[in-house]
Symmetry: C2
Subunit: 440 residues, 2 copies
């Protein structure tokens, strides 16, 4: 069946994932041809530097610095360069030349998604991007296709392997953030400049992509509330553990029923370290693994789990998309457009209501707890649980106490103002941490 | 965008899932139209008895007993009757009339899959069946599309909610099978005649479907080795727990590299209660939930988790397929055929090699362990661990002992013969259980 049909595949980018994709396209060519319904001919790999070392053995004549020439005339263009330019220009050229596009570029989709999906719609082509979120874990296709007849209520994702690795080790070893980060860098789990991971920028891009897809809404990256994990210390981890929680950096995409001004639905998209009950399926995601927990109206709770990024895992997702793109190209007709027809408003973080856990260091004096409780009550923050522990000073002088307060659901804006009042009250020596509780 | 395009949707079957699907098609019609790109008009529901009570409020004029007339002229036919006939005839008629088909019928696909997929190929239509395996959990689409560029090595699925519910309660409560089954029946988790579930027939159908898809091979149902859970008693559960395992009814679909006669790959497809390490992700699948654990060459370990069967969950999967079918119908071109081009041989269970745990009741006499060890050694079964516990008789008479033996990997055929020799040896009072260990 594959004797006559051939598709021309162009690859942009020869890094770790690109080399792996090129290698697998060639090594598994018979198997892929059988699945796609046509031979997939890798016609070239566009790179910046022809002499750079490659992660896989590939014939030198495949490489070119002329991306434009490679793109024009290709049936399928795989973009694995990363970054905004020249990836954006290359993808737009591919679409306008009649090619279907496969990309793993989360930064580009999170910032220029609408432009790219519009360009695809105009020519009836498709853009596949399973590899952009959670590596080889199928999550884009389930959201786009499997749940297309359902209504997604909430997504909670552990979508950054580096931060999960760090938090998991801190939780298990009781170590401090800086120590584990240094180790993670030495072991290759974190980059030399870890900002994109530990400050939540990477997770925020993925959250924007997931929320756009799940809620049929173009979610701009700057509408995603973002906090990183650098403030999480061993003491905070310890308090979480004592309260039956584990701390995970979560990407939360939530439908807020009736949350829009006219009474329609709105959405909330946010990335922050949150407390997750130890019995929740997300709590058992260890190491650098990823998992996406989805709650849908009819389907109920679903979880998708697996390895996050990694050259070979990401390559698996890219190749799955290449086969889908090939089948679509052969079948003809127009591709599935990226729907933004719901276009729900994205709420600011101040309107969030959730449960919180506040950890305070206070002077061990009579009346302190009453003062703290009064400030919370004045701020419309209702207390669910309180635990006070006295820390005796070594020299026998008046010690400090730690108060851990679990709240009922409160408004983020009220909570923020209340914490400011606590910090300024004179009885609170230090606000150790304020963490949101997710997953109940 | 949906003003002019309309698709005619016919539904066969008005049971729990059918009623739910019809209800959601009508209640969410605007949302579904936006996602599908056309209005989905439910033109009728074919049922046997017009007067039967329905689980959802539906207008009486939708119902008809004339399935044939309903099918001819429909763009999409949803088959939710279950069983072989008249479901098979209805689906074949739908395909030959140019409709795409959505079905949740695992029994039909496991026995007549090749006939149905061939019929679809001949007209370029598609058959969607996400709901046939693991309810709302997307597993068909990930296997067919997301992993299309990868090579699946093994699937281990908890695909029957009833048996997982029973085993989970036995594990947690130390109860006996019969007691928990009775309770499960009273609570609606098990049917009055539980044979299809507890004897593994339901899981075997799903295993045949998953293996066919994952290995591009038509796997006949009778090639699936099947054992149920009725032999699992509280004592066996207890022994498993002591050894750090939990017992799960698993559907295992495995690529056996070099297992075919000519040196090519073969596959093994089997359903049986197996010991799973308590640290394995499948061990934490509780209650009536389902989960499918997939190991692929490039993607690594993936797990898909969620609620199993259930009217509303299954309806979510059906509607996702309806939207996919609608998009394909609108896009035109031919559908994705069901590939059986690999056509790997399915190995008989006797050729399996795995680890086993054998529990024996023996007389508490000198030399018994030596005799047992000798029989195992003669049978090419190598011992990894042994634990002997003396059970003192109440009257002080010579008691019995229990020996739990963990083996290294052994050939199923050798193991079976060895267990027969043990049973006939005179020193073994009873072979309590022989269980395979999976997941390492």
């Amino acid at each position: 069946m594959t004797d006559t049909r051939r598709l021309r595949v162009a690859l942009l980018g020869g890094g770790a994932v690109g080399s792996q994709v090129a290698h697998l396209l060639r090594a598994h060519s018979d198997e892929l041809a059988g699945r796609a319904g046509a031979a997939l001919d890798l016609v070239g790999i566009a790179v910046r530097d022809l002499d750079a070392p490659r992660d896989a053995p590939l014939p030198r004549e495949l490489f070119t610095t002329d991306a434009e020439q490679l793109i024009v005339g290709a049936d399928i263009v795989i973009e694995l360069m990363g970054g905004i330019e020249p990836a954006r220009t290359g993808i737009l050229l591919a679409l306008s030349s009649g090619a279907d596009v496969v990309t793993a570029n989360k930064a580009l989709l999170a910032t220029h998604g609408p432009e790219i999906f519009d360009a695809a719609d105009q020519v009836g082509a498709s853009v596949y991007y399973e590899a952009a979120v959670a590596g080889a874990i199928p999550i884009i296709r389930p959201l786009r296709d499997s749940l297309a007849g359902d209504r997604v209520q909430r997504i909670m994702g552990i979508v950054n392997g580096t931060t999960n690795y760090i938090l998991d080790r801190m939780d298990r070893e009781g170590s401090d953030f800086a120590a584990v980060l240094g180790d993670a860098q030495a072991l290759g789990y974190a980059e030399a400049d870890p900002t994109a991971d530990v400050e939540g920028y990477d997770a925020a891009q993925k959250a924007a992509i997931l929320a756009s897809l799940a809620f049929h809404t173009a979610v701009p990256l700057d509408a995603v509330h973002r906090e990183g994990i650098t403030q999480i210390d061993a003491q905070t981890m310890d308090a979480a553990r004592h309260a039956g929680y584990v701390i995970k950096l979560l990407a939360v995409c939530e439908r807020v029923v009736g949350g829009a001004e006219g009474g329609g639905d709105a959405i909330s998209v946010r990335v922050y370290p949150a407390l997750v009950d130890r019995d929740h399926p997300l709590a058992s995601v260890h190491g650098a693994n990823n998992a996406v927990f989805v709650q849908a109206e009819a389907a109920g709770d679903l979880m998708f789990y697996g390895a996050g990024a990694g050259g070979v895992q990401t390559a698996s997702a890219v190749l799955g998309d290449v086969v889908s793109a090939a089948r679509r190209h052969l079948a003809g007709g127009v591709g599935v457009g990226e729907s933004t027809r719901a276009n729900l408003p994205v709420l600011p973080i101040g309107t969030l209501t959730t449960r919180y856990q506040i950890t305070l260091e206070v002077a061990d004096q009579p009346g302190v707890l009453a003062t703290v409780a009064g400030i919370l009550s004045d701020g419309n923050v209702s207390i669910a649980t309180v635990e006070q522990t006295v820390i005796t000073a070594a020299d026998g002088a008046p010690g400090t106490a730690r108060i851990v307060i679990g709240t009922h659901r409160a408004l983020e804006q009220d909570l923020g103002e209340t914490v400011d009042h606590l910090a300024a009250s004179g009885v609170v020596a230090r606000v150790v941490s304020v963490l949101r509780v997710e997953g109940d």
